[in-house]
C-alpha cells in the first residue's frame, strides 16, 4: 500500500505574530470543534491510504489538543503503527496536561516555536512568551515522555546580533531537544513587518549568523540535514523530508497543499468555505510536478544532495550539460564525487542562485555565437 504523509493545517492562534503569513484566524472553541469535524470527514474520505507521517501545523495546533486527540482516535486505522506524528506548539500554551494527553493518543513529536532565547528579541517578534517560558515548555514535553522534541529558532530577527544568537544557540542546545529548525526571517509582503522600518542584518550579517548557527549546532551534535534543519542522529523529521524528496502527501485544511495522484494542489485560504464543503475544494497548482527542475530545487536543500547523473539520465539531459553548468559554480559552494552533488553551508546560503544555474536548460548567448 502507498504510504503517504498527512498534513493537517490548524488555522487558529491566540494572536497573530507580525512576521507570519501562514493562514490563521482567532481561536474560539466552537469554531475549533466544527473545524476538526470537517478535517475528520475529509481524512476519512480518502480510502485505501495509509499515513506513515502526520504533521499538525499552524496556526497553533496545541490550542486544539483535546480535539486532536479525538481526531487521532477516529482515524487510527489509517495511520501506520510506526508513523511519526508531529504537532506544532507554542510555549505559552504548552501544559503538562496537554503534552501527556497528546502523547497517549499517538503524537510522538513536538515542535516548539521558541524563536529565540533572548527576551528583547521575543518582544520585537511580538511573541507572547519569554525565554524562561520557552525553556520550561521543552522541559514539560520532555518530562511528559516525548523523545522527539524540536526547538524552532529564527535567524536575523530585529534586535538580534551575532552574540545574542550565539547565546540563543548555546541555551537551546542545553535543553533536552533532539531537533532544531533555524529559519532565516523573511519579510513577507502584507505582514505588519513589511510595513515597519526594521533594523535587520545586512546580507553579510545574515550569512555570518547562519554560518555561526551551522557551526555551533554541529559542535553540539546536531547534524545539518537540510538548509534550515538540524537533528541528533535518528531524529530527523520524516514528514518534512517527504516534501524535499518529492514523495506524496495529502494536506487538509484551508491553505493546505497536497501532492497526491501525480498533481500538486491546494485549498483556498478560507476557513468558512472549508467547513462548508466536504470534500474540501481544491485547485491545481501544478499538474506536472516532480520534474528535473523541481527535484534539483528540492534535493539541493538536503545535505544528502542529489544524484546528479541519475537525474540527468532519467530526464534526458546530457551529463556534459550538467558538468558545464556545474563549472559556473565556485567550488567552495558544493562537493561532487561524480555521484552526489551536495551543497556546503556556504552553498546553502546562495542556493537560489545555484539552483538557478543548475536548472537553466537554455544555453545563453547561443544567438550571438551562431549568428
Amino acid at each position: 500500500m502507498n504510504k503517504l504523509g498527512l498534513y493537517v493545517h490548524i488555522p487558529f492562534c491566540l494572536s497573530k505574530c507580525p512576521y507570519c503569513d501562514f493562514y490563521s484566524v482567532k481561536y474560539d472553541e466552537d469554531t475549533a470543534k466544527r473545524y476538526i469535524k470537517a478535517v475528520q470527514a475529509n481524512i476519512l474520505g480518502y480510502s485505501g491510504v495509509k499515513f506513515d507521517t502526520v504533521y499538525f501545523g499552524g496556526g497553533t495546533p496545541i490550542l486544539l489538543w483535546r480535539e486532536i486527540c479525538g481526531l487521532l482516535g477516529s482515524i487510527g486505522d489509517m495511520i501506520d503503527p510506526d508513523a511519526e506524528i508531529s504537532l506544532e506548539a507554542n510555549p505559552c500554551v504548552t501544559s503538562a496536561e496537554a503534552a501527556a494527553a497528546l502523547l497517549s493518543c499517538g503524537v510522538n513529536r513536538i515542535s516548539l516555536g521558541l524563536q529565540s532565547m533572548n527576551d528583547t528579541e521575543l518582544i520585537a517578534l511580538g511573541r507572547r512568551h519569554n525565554a524562561k517560558q520557552g525553556a520550561k515548555a521543552v522541559e514539560i514535553c520532555h518530562n511528559a515522555g516525548f523523545s522527539d522534541i524540536s526547538a524552532d529558532i529564527m535567524i536575523g530577527t530585529p534586535c538580534q546580533t551575532r552574540e545574542s544568537l550565539r547565546h540563543t544557540l548555546s541555551a537551546v542546545t542545553k535543553l533536552p531537544a533532539t531537533h532544531i529548525s533555524a529559519y532565516m526571517l523573511k519579510i513577507e509582503p502584507d505582514t505588519p513587518f513589511a510595513k515597519r522600518e526594521l533594523s535587520l542584518p545586512s546580507e553579510d550579517g545574515y550569512a555570518d549568523m547562519y554560518l555561526d548557527t551551522v557551526e555551533e549546532l554541529k559542535a553540539n551534535g546536531f547534524t545539518q540535514y537540510e538548509i534550515s534543519n538540524f537533528a541528533l542522529k535518528g531524529h530527523e523529521c520524516r514528514h518534512n523530508l517527504k516534501y524535499w524528496q518529492c514523495e506524496e502527501y495529502i494536506g487538509v485544511g484551508p491553505a493546505a497543499h497536497s501532492f497526491y495522484g501525480g498533481k500538486r494542489y491546494a485549498v483556498k485560504r478560507d476557513i468558512g468555505e472549508f467547513m462548508d464543503n466536504v470534500p474540501q475544494r481544491t485547485y491545481i497548482t501544478d499538474d506536472c510536478p516532480a520534474g528535473f527542475d523541481e527535484r534539483v530545487m528540492l534535493g539541493l536543500r538536503l545535505s544528502e544532495g542529489i544524484d546528479l547523473y541519475a537525474l540527468c539520465d532519467r530526464f534526458g539531459i546530457e551529463r556534459k550539460m550538467a558538468d558545464e553548468r556545474l563549472s559556473k559554480i565556485p567550488p567552495a559552494l558544493y562537493s561532487f564525487d561524480g555521484n552526489r552533488l551536495r551543497l556546503t553551508p556556504e552553498g546553502f546560503l546562495v542556493s537560489n542562485a545555484v539552483i538557478g544555474i543548475m536548472t537553466d536548460i537554455k544555453k545563453e548567448d547561443i544567438w550571438i555565437r551562431s549568428y
Binding site: E203, A207, H257, L349, V350, S351, G356
Partner: protein
C-alpha cells in the same frame, strides 16, 4: 476667387520660443480661437501628439496645421501654423520648418527674457528673410517685467518690439492681437502657380496604409491628384494618389496644392529611401530646371552604440531605426558589432537629449529593449604614417603608438544667465576644460558668457549641471567650431579581468583618473553580487588606474518550508530567472542594463 486672391489670404508662419516659454500653449489657444478644433476635442499640447512630448512637456517634432481665421478686416484668412521644437538639439527641425514659412512669431517669457535658444532660432529666421513678430507671454505672472523684456528684444535681437502684443497664453489674454499681427505683418506667399512645380519636402513619415506621406511647401507651380511627380535628388517617380492639408486632428484631402501652400502628398511610396527631406518634388512631364536649395545637411555630433537587449531583435531594431529616420532625418546609423553586446548599430545624434529621445521612442513606439553605450564624439586622428581618420567609436581608437596627433571637436558656447550665477558657471566651465572668451551684460541683471568648450565635455551632462547650478535660469547654445589637438586617452573598463568594449571611451588625459574612479564606483553599485567576486577595473593603455570589487553574493535562499507549498518555491525561482534574462552576460558577469545607463550619467 482667382489664384492670386486666394494666395493673398494665406499666411505661413511658425512659432519660435525657448523651452517653457509657452509656445505649445499659445498654439493651443490659436487652435481654439480659430475654432479649428472643437471644444470637446481640445486637450493640452494638442500638436504634441507624441506620448513622449506630452510626458516631458516639450516639442520634439515640428507639426504643421492649417487654420481658418476671420480677421477684423472682415476677410477670411488661411493660416499654416508650424509648431517647432525649442531645444538646441532640435535646431535642425526648426530650420526645416522655417523654410516653409514667411514669418515667425517670437514668444518671449515676460519674466525670464530672451534665452539662448530663442536667439539662435530667431537668427535662423532672420537669415531666411522671415518677418519676425515679437510677442511677450506670461504677463499674468507677478514677476513679469514686459517693458524690460521689450527693451531686451530691441537691444539684443535688433527688431522693433514697441508694439509687441502682451499676452498670457495660459489665461487666453490678448491672443487675438497675435493673430491680427500675423494677418497684417506677415506677407502672403509670393509665388507663381503656373511655373513648373517646385515643392520642398520638409518632413515625412510612414503610414501603414498610404505608404510614405511627405509634407511639402509648394514654392512654385501647382500639384494635382493624378500628377506624376519626380523626386529631383533620387529621380524616383510616383503618381499622386492623394494630397491635401494637415488638419489639427486629421488630414484634409484636396484636389490641388498651389504655390505658397503647405500640405501633404501620398503617392504609394513604399521605399523610405526614395523621399529625402530637403529634396524638391517636381512634375515628371514638366520638370523644374533646377531644384530648390534644400537643407544644409547636419552632421551628427554625438554617437553611441544601440543594441537590442535580446539579440534576436536585431532585425526589428533595424526596421525601427529606418522608420524613425524617415521621421527624423538627423538620425544616422550604421551596423556595428561589439564583443560584449553582439550586433547593433552605431547611431549619430545631434546631442544628448536627441539621443535620449530616440532611445525612448525606439523603446516605446517599437517596443524594444535596448542597451546603449556611452556617448562619444568624433575624433580626428593623424597617424604616424600620415593618414588621417575620424573615429566615432572608441573601440576603433588606434593604439597610442600609431597616433601622431589626436584632435577633438570644440564648440563655441553662449551661456545666458542671471548675473548672480556667473561664478558658479565659470567654475563649471573651468572643470569642463572651457576657455573663457568674454562676457557681456544684456541688461542690469543678465549676462551672456562666451566659452570655447570641448564637445566631449558637454555631451555627458553639461546641460543638467548648468541647470542645477543656476536653479534652472541659465540656458546655453553652441555651435561646432572645429578640431583642436588634445591630450586624449582611451579608457578601458574591465570586468573580471576582461575588457568590455562597449564600456570603453575616450577622455582627456587630465580627467582620466577621476572619471575612471567614478565609473568603477558606479559599476560596482549597479552590478548585483554574483556567485563569485567581480573585480571592476579601469585602465589606460593597459595600466590599471582604478579598481573596485563587487563582492561575492552571500545570501540568496528560501529558508522557509511553506508547509509543503512547493509550487510557490518554484514560482519564486522562476521569477528570479526571469529577472536574470533581462541582464547582459559579459563573459561570466551578469550586468543589468541600468549599469550601462549609469555610466552615462556621471553627475557632480
Amino acid at each position: 476667387m482667382s489664384d492670386n486672391e486666394y494666395l493673398s489670404k494665406i499666411r505661413n508662419f511658425c512659432i519660435i520660443a525657448h523651452i517653457d516659454h509657452g509656445k505649445s500653449t499659445l498654439a493651443d489657444r490659436i487652435l481654439e480661437l480659430t475654432e479649428t478644433v472643437e471644444k470637446r476635442e481640445m486637450e493640452e499640447q494638442l500638436l504634441d501628439d507624441m506620448e513622449l512630448e506630452r510626458e516631458r512637456g516639450i516639442t520634439i517634432k515640428a507639426r504643421a496645421v492649417r487654420l481658418k481665421y476671420h480677421a477684423d478686416d472682415g476677410e477670411d484668412y488661411i493660416f499654416n501654423l508650424i509648431d517647432t521644437p525649442g531645444h538646441v538639439d532640435f535646431n535642425y527641425e526648426v530650420s526645416r520648418s522655417l523654410n516653409a514659412c514667411e514669418g515667425a512669431v517670437l514668444v518671449v517669457d515676460a519674466s525670464q527674457g530672451i534665452e539662448a535658444q530663442t536667439l539662435a532660432n530667431t537668427y535662423l529666421a532672420i537669415d531666411q528673410d522671415l518677418e519676425v513678430i515679437p510677442v511677450i507671454n506670461k504677463i499674468d505672472l507677478p514677476s513679469a517685467h514686459p517693458d524690460e523684456v521689450k527693451e531686451e528684444i530691441e537691444n539684443v535681437i535688433g527688431i522693433p518690439a514697441e508694439d509687441a502684443p502682451l499676452i498670457s497664453a495660459k489665461m487666453g489674454i490678448n491672443i487675438k492681437a497675435v493673430l491680427e499681427d500675423v494677418v497684417n505683418k506677415i506677407p502672403p506667399p509670393s509665388a507663381d502657380p503656373s511655373a513648373p512645380l517646385k515643392a520642398l519636402i520638409f518632413d515625412s513619415y510612414y503610414d501603414p496604409y498610404k505608404g510614405v506621406i511627405v509634407h511639402v511647401r509648394i514654392k512654385e507651380g501647382t500639384l494635382k491628384v493624378g500628377d506624376t511627380i519626380k523626386m529631383m535628388a533620387t529621380g524616383a517617380q510616383f503618381t499622386v494618389t492623394e494630397l491635401g492639408y494637415m488638419g489639427a486632428m486629421q488630414l484634409i484631402t484636396a484636389d490641388r496644392l498651389l504655390a505658397g501652400e503647405v500640405g501633404y502628398i501620398a503617392a504609394s511610396i513604399k521605399s523610405i529611401g526614395d523621399t529625402k527631406v530637403g529634396d524638391t518634388v517636381t512634375l515628371a512631364d514638366r520638370p523644374a530646371a533646377e531644384p530648390l536649395a534644400g537643407y544644409r545637411s547636419v552632421n551628427p555630433m554625438v554617437f553611441s552604440g544601440i543594441y537590442p537587449a535580446d539579440g534576436a531583435k536585431y532585425a526589428d531594431l533595424r526596421e525601427a531605426l529606418e522608420k524613425l529616420q524617415l521621421n527624423d532625418a538627423s538620425l544616422s546609423f550604421e551596423p556595428e558589432t561589439s564583443i560584449a553586446l553582439g550586433f547593433g548599430f552605431r547611431c549619430g545624434f545631434l546631442g544628448l537629449l536627441h539621443m535620449e529621445i530616440i532611445q525612448e521612442r525606439l523603446e516605446r513606439e517599437y517596443n524594444l529593449d535596448l542597451v546603449t553605450t556611452a556617448p562619444s564624439v568624433v575624433y580626428k586622428i593623424t597617424k604616424t604614417d600620415g593618414t588621417v581618420c575620424y573615429i566615432d567609436n572608441p573601440t576603433n581608437y588606434p593604439d597610442p603608438s600609431e597616433i601622431e596627433v589626436a584632435e577633438e571637436p570644440m564648440v563655441k558656447a553662449n551661456i545666458y544667465s542671471p548675473s548672480d550665477y556667473v561664478g558658479s558657471i565659470m567654475e563649471l566651465c573651468q572643470q569642463r576644460r572651457g576657455i573663457f572668451k568674454d562676457m557681456t551684460y544684456l541688461d542690469r541683471t543678465r549676462v551672456e558668457l562666451h566659452y570655447d568648450l570641448p564637445l566631449n565635455e558637454i555631451v555627458y551632462d553639461f546641460f543638467d549641471s548648468l541647470k542645477s547650478r543656476t536653479k534652472g535660469y541659465a540656458s546655453y547654445d553652441y555651435e561646432i567650431s572645429g578640431f583642436v589637438p588634445s591630450k586624449l586617452v582611451k579608457l578601458d573598463i574591465l570586468l573580471n579581468g576582461e575588457i568590455v568594449d562597449a564600456l570603453s571611451f575616450i577622455v582627456h588625459a587630465d580627467s582620466a583618473y577621476p572619471r575612471a574612479r567614478k565609473i568603477a564606483e558606479k559599476l560596482k553599485d549597479n552590478i548585483p553580487r554574483q556567485l563569485f567576486e567581480v573585480p571592476v577595473q579601469a585602465a589606460v593603455g593597459g595600466k590599471i588606474i582604478a579598481r573596485e570589487t563587487v563582492k561575492a553574493m552571500r545570501k540568496d535562499v528560501l529558508a522557509k518550508c511553506y508547509g509543503g507549498d512547493i509550487t510557490r518555491k518554484k514560482k519564486l525561482l522562476e521569477k528570479q530567472k526571469e529577472g536574470k534574462k533581462r541582464m547582459r552576460k559579459l563573459g561570466s558577469v551578469e550586468v543589468p542594463q541600468e549599469a550601462f545607463m549609469a555610466v552615462l550619467k556621471l553627475d557632480e
